[in-house]
Structures are given as C-alpha cells and as structure tokens.
C-alpha cells in the first residue's frame, strides 16, 4: 500500500460515491502500473487473479494526466469486452505514446467474487506529478 507520500506501490483514497486509485512509482510508467493495480483491487483481490493471458494496449496523449486517464480506460475496456481481470501490468512510455501489456485471466465469479465494475476513469482528483523526493504519483477517481 502506498499513500500520497509513501513508497512505490498502490493505494485507494476515499471518495464518497466512487473510489480513488493511486499509484506511486520510481518513474511515471511504474506509477501508471500501480494505479492499474489499485483499480483492479477495487474489483477483486490481486492475488486471486492468475497472469495466464496477455493483452497489449496502446494510447497517446500530450498531457501526462490525460495519458493516465486513457491508460486506465484501456484497462477498463479490456476488462469489460474480454470479461477478464488483470493482475500484472507493464507500461512503457515514450514521449506521448504509451504501450501497456497486462496479464490476467477470464472472470470466474465464484473464485474472484468481483464486487463492482469500473465504469470509467474521471478527471476528478486527476494528478500525474513527480514528488520532491523523485518518485512519481498517478491518481484519479474511478466511477464504479
């Protein structure tokens, strides 16, 4: 778990109706990976999801915070249209372009007991920034 000032990892921050997801990383890409882990953990425990199948997505945006929005929305789209959950994320960012590989498996309701489906990543509390200690923070509220 990682708070706003904590070490690399993921965490949730409170939002009354929905849920805030936050990733901290040694670079922006790792912060994005951890934000995706935080979002997945909203749905089901990460350790119940086997990284059996790989899906690759890509997106592009000049503004890093919009790139985070696009990345999380690509994860949501893959979850929704493939009926899958993902637990392992690898992100590469070059300039405005992001390529993400995620590994997971089809949803098994009895084993995963998914609690809620993410509808979309929002602009609320949307932040991508490098902290004074050099670590990166990537966060937003996700509508569930």
């Amino acid at each position: 778990m990682a708070g706003e000032t904590g070490p690399p990892g993921w965490s949730h921050f409170p939002h009354q109706g929905d849920v805030g997801v936050r990733g901290i990383g040694r670079d922006m890409a790792e912060a994005f990976e951890n934000a995706a882990r935080a979002m997945t953990e909203v749905v089901a425990p990460l350790d119940t999801i086997r990284p059996a199948q790989s899906v690759t997505v890509s997106c592009r945006a000049a503004d890093p915070s919009i790139l985070l929005l696009d990345w999380l929305n690509e994860v949501i789209y893959a979850m929704a249209t493939r009926s899958m959950l993902f637990s392992d994320f690898r992100v590469g960012i070059e300039g405005e372009a992001l390529v993400g590989e995620m590994r997971g498996e089809p949803v098994e309701p009895k084993r995963h007991e998914p609690s809620v489906e993410p509808k979309g990543a929002t602009l609320t509390e949307l932040r991508v920034e490098q902290r004074p200690d050099g670590l990166w923070l990537a966060q937003c509220v996700v509508d569930v």
Partner: protein, 476 residues
C-alpha cells in the same frame, strides 16, 4: 458542511450567493442535519457548476447530494443555448439514464414470503447480474442501431413487455433525437454482450412490500395498496453509456479552452450546446438513454417470467420508469418567460407536478411518480411530483439515500456474510455473486433515506405517497 457558512432562505433551502465567477446562486435543499452530513466537496462542486456559461436560475443540490465527479451526485442545472449554455458529459455521468422502474404486481407480500427463498434463488438465476455477467441477447450492427433509436419501444417490438408499458416510461419509452450512427464502434462493442444485464455496485432488482400509505389519492392513481408486492429495478445504460461517458468527458476536457470556456475545474468538462461537439454529444447521449430504457424493459420481461413461473396468471404492470442521470431539453419559465433549456439531472429525478409533462391519466392528476431507491435493508419510497417543485428546483427531486460512507470504509466495517445474515433475520433475502459487494453496499453505508424524502417533501420537491420495505434483493 457547516450550515452557518450558508445563507438560509427557507427552512429547507440554503443558498451560496453568487461571488467571483459564479453566474447564479448555488442552492442546497436539505434539512440542517443533512447539510452537516454533506461533504465539503458538495459545496465546491455545486459552486463550480454555478460558474458554467449559460446557467439559469441557480445550481441546485438535492437532499441526497454527495461528492461526485464534475457535478455533485444530486446536482441539477439548466442551461440556455441562446445564452451560450453548455452541455456537460460529467453533468450526466458515465451511467447515462441510470434509473428506477417499479412493477405494481397483484400479489401480496404474504404470497412472496410463502416461497421467498426459492423465489429469490430463481430471480437471481434469471437476472444476469455482477461483473462479467452476460446477457442472452446479442445484437448485430443493425439491431444495435435499432435499439439505440427505439429504446423501450424497440424492446416491446422485439417481444419484451407490452405496448401498455410504454406510456409509463419517460419520453414514452423512446428518446427522440438519438444518433446511433455517431455512437463509436467501441461503445457498441462494449454493449454487445450486456443487453438485459443488471450490472454491479448499487444496481439491484428488489421485491418490496408496500408498508405505509401517505397520500390516498396518489396511491389509488398509482395502483398501490398496503401489503402489496412490487418489483423495483435499478440499473442504467451498461457498457455503452460508460464508454460514451469516457469518450466525451475526455474530448470535452480538451476542447473547452478552444470554445473559450474557462473551467473552474477540468472535471466540469463541457461544450456549448450549439457547438458541433455539444450537438454530437447530445445525439449519442440520447442513444445512451434509449439503451438504458431498452435494458430496463428487457429486465422487466425477465422478472415477469419468474413471477409467472411462481404465480401463474399474476399481473405486474409497470407503475413508472424514471431516469436520474440525464440531460433533457425542456420548457421552463425563467423570469416570466418560457425558455427552452437543457436540464442536467445527475443523481436527480424529474418531478413533474399535477398537469405537467404530458403524463398519462390517471397519473396526470396527482403528478409524476418519483421512485426513490433504498439500500437492501432500508426502505424505498414512492413520491409524487409536487407543483411547487418547478419553482423550487426546475421540477426535480432526489433519487436515493445517497452514500454516507465510502466503499472502502464500508468493506472494512462489515462483512458480506454478516450483512446477509442480519438482513435474513429481518426477513430480507439478499443474493449476490460477491460477498464484498454486499459489504460495500451495506445499508449502514447510506444516509437515512427517510430524512432525505422528508426534506424533499417539506421543500416542495415531491410528496410522500408510499413507503416500501424489501423482501428480496438481487444485487449485482
């Protein structure tokens, strides 16, 4: 929120007068305790809405308001296209036309109780619910476009429900002006397997008992009576609406500066109604409304099938279907002049009073049914639109209890099994594919819905008609 920082203009209306960039006042409708329970973010968000171009009268927060994204949940705002008014994807939300419908069965609660567990089990098997669930209807491209044009009317044509249902749905079951051809392939792909599914989170199908009556005339008009069993369905436009929201929230956020719109916060992403982007969103959002209406119509058909199997020959006519995440073009009187406005209601229900809104008889004599969802263990409400609601909040009312606690906090406070057992001891059967989902939706995570509807009534938004208690809850 500290009520002493607001200007009280009546016992149930609190005002933030326009200052700085605010174009109109922000008005919060609630009693003092509900105000105290509201997050400070509600003030910030409703104040920001009051800054948007073309807003008229006021930005309103309903008694169940809580922190949302862009607009607060429980936010109402109307915009004049002739005054540079805007339309906002965040002001509608991802779950376009999420709403509630109620079937007024001719069964008694005692009949349901006599077979309660079996009935709950069969209902949970017949209603696709939860993350990853798939519907049995898979539309090809032409079928998808027909559905997005026709809404519930399309569903009835396909054999889901009856023509009589349509007059008991806002817009008579079909939102005009939808542009399915402009809806993105990704939005349609996301919907392909989700027709006739309930979804997850706070969406549900409940069987409830009418326990208390508050307005005899309205109860008669609505076809309700004490001890009666009703079926309530709460869900929305599923993946299609979510994807439309995703795409247009982003596009509007990036486009706003180009339209000269200075946003107090980027989450208020919007576009002028009279712009290409505004018109494009309006058309696809209307297609999203039709998707939600069709989806609730299909779920109605599935629920009626279960009722028929358990209680052959029973009737379950539609009392009404309301949407609470929309932007609709409506006529309202502003400063003595009829204006064509685009009214955003996000987590808020339209609440036409008697004689308004072309309601069918006998509903037109008592006002529009306003259906207020509960939270598994707590009561739900049927209200009737009050004629005073036009002056109070542009004919709008609350939509539910509103969350008092985050999902995270709720999951740490309760267990799904504990909530299920506690409710079973009170005669309420809850089914769900997810125990954690039940914990996150625990009744204690919501505000006191009775306080919410009492505030709505006293403020003149909607009158109390009937209180309902849950018997069976199928959760997503």
């Amino acid at each position: 929120m500290d009520p002493t920082t607001l200007e009280q203009i009546s016992p149930y209306e609190w005002q933030i007068p326009p200052t700085g960039d605010m174009r109109v006042s922000a008005v919060i409708i609630a009693d003092e305790d509900l105000i105290r329970g509201m997050d400070e973010k509600v003030r910030q968000q409703i104040t920001n809405v009051a800054c948007l171009p073309g807003i008229v009268r006021a930005a309103y927060a309903m008694p169940d308001a809580h922190w949302g994204y862009g607009f607060p949940i429980g936010g109402v705002a109307a915009f004049d296209p002739d005054q540079g008014g805007v339309i906002s994807a965040g002001g509608v939300g991802f779950d376009i036309s999420c709403g509630v419908r109620m079937l007024a069965t001719n069964l008694t609660a005692a009949q349901i109780r006599s077979r309660q567990r079996d009935f709950a089990h069969e209902m949970s098997r017949s209603i696709p619910a939860g993350v990853g669930s798939r519907g049995r209807i898979h539309l090809d491209d032409a079928g998808m476009d027909d559905m997005l044009t026709g809404g519930a009317r399309w569903a009835v044509t396909e054999g889901y429900g009856t023509v009589e249902d349509l007059e008991r749905i806002e817009e008579q079951g079909q939102m005009a002006g939808a542009t399915p051809g402009v809806v993105s392939p990704r939005a349609k792909r996301r919907q392909r397997d989700e027709m006739g599914t309930l979804g997850s989170g706070n969406h549900y199908l409940e069987v409830q008992e009418v326990t208390d009556i508050f307005d005899d005339a309205a109860v008669r008009a609505y076809g309700l009576s004490p001890g009666q069993a009703v079926v309530t369905i709460h869900c929305g436009s599923r993946g299609l609406g979510h994807q439309i929201g995703t795409e247009y929230l982003r596009e509007m956020a990036l486009a706003a500066p180009g339209y000269g719109i200075i946003l107090p916060d980027r989450e208020l992403a919007c576009a002028p109604i009279n712009s290409e982007l505004g018109q494009r969103y309006l058309g696809v959002m209307r297609a999203g409304i039709n998707c939600a209406l069709a989806n609730r119509q299909i779920l109605t058909h599935l629920a009626r099938g279960v009722l028929e199997r358990f209680f052959p020959g029973c009737q379950a006519p539609l009392l009404y279907d309301v949407s609470h995440n929309t932007c609709k073009e409506e006529l309202h009187e502003i400063d003595g002049e009829q204006k064509r406005l685009f009214v955003h209601r996000k987590g808020a229900t339209r609440s036409f009073g008697p004689g308004m809104g072309n309601m069918p008889p006998p509903l037109n004599k008592v006002g529009q049914p306003v259906l207020i969802g509960g939270s598994m263990g707590t009561e739900s409400w049927v209200l009737a639109g009050d004629e005073r609601s036009e002056a109070a909040a542009l004919s709008s009312a609350c939509h539910g209890a509103g969350r008092a606690m985050s999902r995270h906090q709720a999951a740490r406070t309760w267990t799904g099994r504990g909530v299920q057992d506690e409710l079973a001891a009170r005669g309420i059967i809850v089914t769900s594919p997810s125990r954690r989902g039940i914990a996150e939706e625990a009744p204690g995570a919501y505000k006191n819905v009775t306080r919410v509807v009492e505030s709505a009534e006293r403020a003149g938004l909607a009158r109390r008609v009937a209180r309902l208690a849950p018997l069976v809850c199928v959760k997503g």
